[in-house]
């Protein structure tokens, strides 16, 4: 989450974990099973199951971004029409300042970066140096 590292001194971030997009017992994806770090879960039916998967995720990736889990009534997901993934920015007054498109095709973190850059300045990163061939 480069955006988080770049702008955490200026904005708050909150990851909200919602119902699974491609669980094994619904629309399973072959890519999740083929991946060597397999991501194979059934759709959580209890809060404990949802919490367990959320912890798997944050521990596996050492995820630094503040994290919250949607209750089993899916209130946050419903309120924000978030499924399967979406980005929002709320301004200081609690109003929606940016509403991203639905993932996967319209989910674009670059738009969030552009919003933050317009307000706080662009953060550039050096391109990784190409390996020299001997």
């Amino acid at each position: 989450m480069q955006i988080y590292d770049d702008y955490k001194d200026h904005a708050d971030f909150l990851t909200i974990y919602i119902r699974e997009a491609h669980p094994l017992d619904e629309w399973r994806m072959k890519s999740n099973e083929k991946d060597k770090d397999d991501v194979c879960y059934v759709q959580p039916r209890t809060l404990a199951q949802r919490v367990a998967i959320a912890n798997d995720f944050t521990q596996r990736f050492k995820f630094p971004v503040p994290f919250g889990i949607d209750e089993m009534n899916n209130a946050a997901n419903s309120a924000y029409a978030a499924w399967p993934e979406r980005l929002y920015i709320l301004d200081e007054s609690g109003r929606i300042s940016y509403k991203g498109g639905n993932g996967p095709f319209q989910y674009d973190p670059k738009e969030v970066r552009a919003w933050l850059a317009q307000r706080y300045g662009e953060v550039k990163h050096a391109e990784p140096a190409a390996e020299k061939k001997s």
Binding site: E20, Y80, R86
Partner: protein, 73 residues
């Protein structure tokens, strides 16, 4: 109808994925009613410890708040 299914299969990544999309994705995927400028709704969330509750609004400390919704799979 057949053309629509073929098109959906291409979009989804295969015939089985097209069925998956129709059955499990479309019922949950929608634009929602929120617009830029609307007051952001609040909701109660659970922390990673599985017990602590907090509200989305509590995480906004007089700064912009970026919300990242998603799941693992």
């Amino acid at each position: 109808m057949v053309l629509a299914y073929v098109g959906l299969s291409i979009l989804a990544g295969g015939p089985k994925d097209a069925i998956g999309m129709l059955r499990f994705a479309l019922p949950y995927m929608h634009r929602g009613k929120l617009k830029v400028g609307d007051s952001a709704p609040d909701a109660q969330l659970v922390a990673l410890d599985g017990a602590t509750r907090f509200h989305i609004r509590e995480r906004s400390n007089r700064r912009p708040l970026v919300l990242v919704f998603g799941s693992f799979t």
